[in-house]
């Protein structure tokens, strides 16, 4: 009952959900962290203290500033080619954020359209879409991505494509299931009784009603997408050197792990922090958007 009263006060259900979300301290904090990563990616050239591509062989494997032999101009030390790790980590966030956001948006759009069509039109459309979804779900994610990258060759666009090919499946399933429920609602029949077209009903009547689960599942998936990109780059199939990516930086430092732990560890910590923040934020979104979890 309290939830209904709250919804009535707020401008819309979405606004009420966002108010709920804002009350969740952990989720709000996590969102701030994600936003900081986004800012870091956007303003990398202004934030980075050094040129991420400039190598200085005299600084090979230089330790972080607080350790013996470090200097504050290179706060997190240098990698095997004498490049500033902090600057490379900052630039590396561009790749992670770009791929995370791009794949999420494209996959959510494609998945939502396919899910709406399958769930509303049913029949042959549903059979075709659902079978493609089943086939893609039966592939192990990383193996499929490795195979696609090996065929298409490296490059930012190809990474996005390789990940989208599998990633649209999840929003599609969610949207299809929600659409199946929504298409039986009386407001859909009312819209049909007033001469609305199928396209209109799918995009203007049903889509706004399935937006909440779509947003929740998409934000959850963004964390997985970032890990997938890091994995591909770690395996050398993702972003190509010298462009810095957290995954390839972890790979580069592997052989020096005993003597120079910072080369691999720091980009690894970045992956951990960003993915954790995204997960906590999307957890908060789900709690706020799923009425069954309302207290």
């Amino acid at each position: 009952m309290e939830g209904a009263a709250r919804a009535a006060r707020a401008d819309s259900i979405l606004a009420a959900n966002l108010q709920d979300f804002a009350r969740n301290r952990v989720a709000l904090g996590a969102t701030v962290v994600v936003a900081l990563f986004a800012l870091m990616a956007a303003f990398a050239p202004w934030i980075a203290p050094q040129d991420p591509y400039a190598s200085d062989l005299f600084r090979r494997l230089q330790p972080p500033a607080w350790m013996e032999g470090g200097e504050w101009a290179y706060p997190l030390g240098c990698d095997a080619l004498g490049r500033d790790i902090l600057s490379r980590v900052i630039y590396g966030s561009r790749v992670s954020m770009f791929i995370g956001v791009a794949v999420m948006l494209i996959a959510a759009t494609v998945g939502a359209l396919a899910g709406l069509a399958a769930g509303y039109l049913r029949g042959a459309t549903d059979v075709v879409v659902s079978r493609i979804v089943d086939i893609l779900l039966s592939f192990p994610y990383l193996i499929l991505a490795i195979g696609l990258m090996a065929t298409m060759g490296p490059g930012l666009g190809n990474i996005v494509l390789a990940l989208v090919i599998k990633e649209w499946v999840l929003p599609c399933r969610i949207v299809r299931a929600e659409t199946l429920a929504a298409r039986e609602m009386e407001y859909v029949e009312a819209a049909r009784a007033l001469g609305a077209s199928s396209r209109h009903i799918m995009l203007r009547e049903i889509l706004p009603n399935v937006l909440s689960p779509l947003i929740v599942v998409s934000t959850f998936r963004m964390a997985t997408i970032i890990i997938m990109e890091a994995s591909l780059s770690f395996l050398g199939l993702g972003v190509q050197p010298p462009v810095p990516s957290w995954g390839s930086m972890v790979a580069d430092g592997r052989q020096f792990l005993i003597g120079a732990w910072w080369v691999s560890t720091l980009p690894g910590v970045m992956i951990l922090v960003l993915v954790l923040a995204i997960n906590l934020a999307s957890q908060g979104l789900r709690d706020a958007f799923d009425p069954r979890l309302r207290r």
Partner: protein, 320 residues
């Protein structure tokens, strides 16, 4: 006068696992220009399905077996889905029973009205919006400039019903089918909404089909009434004639089960028994098991028998 909408021998069936349900079984109905026709029947009598068939909105496993739906010189039962979609909303609009579930909870009222207008008219968005505001004003929604920005859950039941009627009337249809427009409302609000529909009919010069299970509601607002029972029209005629001289035992039973203000001491007599299952109906009068005046001659298909001044009933006693 030629009817505006003429339904002839409409048969709509639902193929279910239990068998073929004959939800609408040979219905003939006419709607004259500018008139209000009341369609009365219990749940499952086929009144809603009849008009869903008119608009081509019967969902599988239901389908129209046969019959003609002549509207404006065309047979709606023969139109392609695209042609039929152009008729819906533009020529014939239908409002659903429950305004709370028939309005989209995720959209502002503004979007719902404007989108309906734009679906049929090529208009600038702003013009559609001012048309929407006119509609809300016409339906007596206070402060329409502010309320148009609200979501359906922010309206009261009666206001919601008005919003739904406003959406249905947004394209100025020539025929409004109101499916139980007052069922979910308080009695006082019911009267307001019905008066409003009557006023709209006068002002916009349209015809109205009022579907209801309440003979009293219909009697007050309709020129003619058709009573439906088990998928058939059992009695049809001018409202006055039906109230004063009901000929079908079902109509008589309905009237006996309703209180009358002028005679509050009169006992109310319920109709015994229940509506028959619409699967495997025998070729006999469908009211037979519940009829107090049944005779051996009732065990055959009874046609609608006319008794003058457009009054007809599906009962052998009419001919006698």
């Amino acid at each position: 006068m030629t009817p505006f909408l003429a339904i002839r021998d409409l048969r709509t069936t639902f193929h279910t696992r239990q068998g073929v349900v004959r939800a609408v079984d040979g219905v003939d109905l006419d709607v004259m220009p500018g008139e209000c026709l009341g369609v009365v029947g219990e749940s499952g009598s086929g009144k809603s399905v009849t008009f869903l068939s008119v608009l081509g909105l019967v969902k599988p496993p239901g389908r129209i077996e046969s019959g003609q739906i002549r509207f404006d010189g065309r047979d709606l039962a023969r139109l392609t889905p695209t042609e039929l979609r152009a008729v819906r909303g533009r020529d014939i609009a239908m409002t659903m029973q429950d305004a709370l579930t028939a309005l989209n909870p995720a959209l502002r009222v503004e979007e719902q009205i404007v989108e309906t207008i734009l679906a049929h008219d090529r208009l600038p968005r702003l013009a559609a919006r001012s048309k929407a505001l006119d509609m809300l004003r016409l339906l007596g929604i206070p402060d329409p400039e502010r309320r148009i920005r609200d979501y359906p859950h922010q309206f009261s039941g009666g206001m919601r019903q008005r919003v739904m009627i406003a959406i249905a009337l947004a394209c100025r249809p020539r025929l409004l089918i109101a499916d139980e427009p007052t069922t979910a409302l308080d009695v006082t609000i019911q009267a307001q909404v019905l008066d409003l529909i009557a006023a709209m009919r006068r002002d916009l010069g349209m015809s109205v089909v009022l579907i209801s299970h309440n003979l009293g509601v219909v009697a007050e607002h309709c020129d003619r009434v058709a009573l439906m029972y088990a998928g058939q029209v059992v009695e049809t005629g001018p409202t006055r004639a039906i109230i004063d001289r009901p000929r079908h035992p079902y109509t008589q039973g309905l009237l006996r089960s309703m209180p009358v203000l002028s005679d509050l001491d009169r006992p109310l007599v319920p109709i015994p028994g229940q509506v028959p299952s619409l699967v495997d109906l025998a070729p006999e009068c469908r009211f037979l098991p519940r009829c107090g005046q049944a005779a051996p001659e009732c065990r055959r298909e009874i046609p609608l028998l006319s008794m003058g001044e457009a009054h007809a009933a599906r009962c052998i006693r009419v001919a006698a």
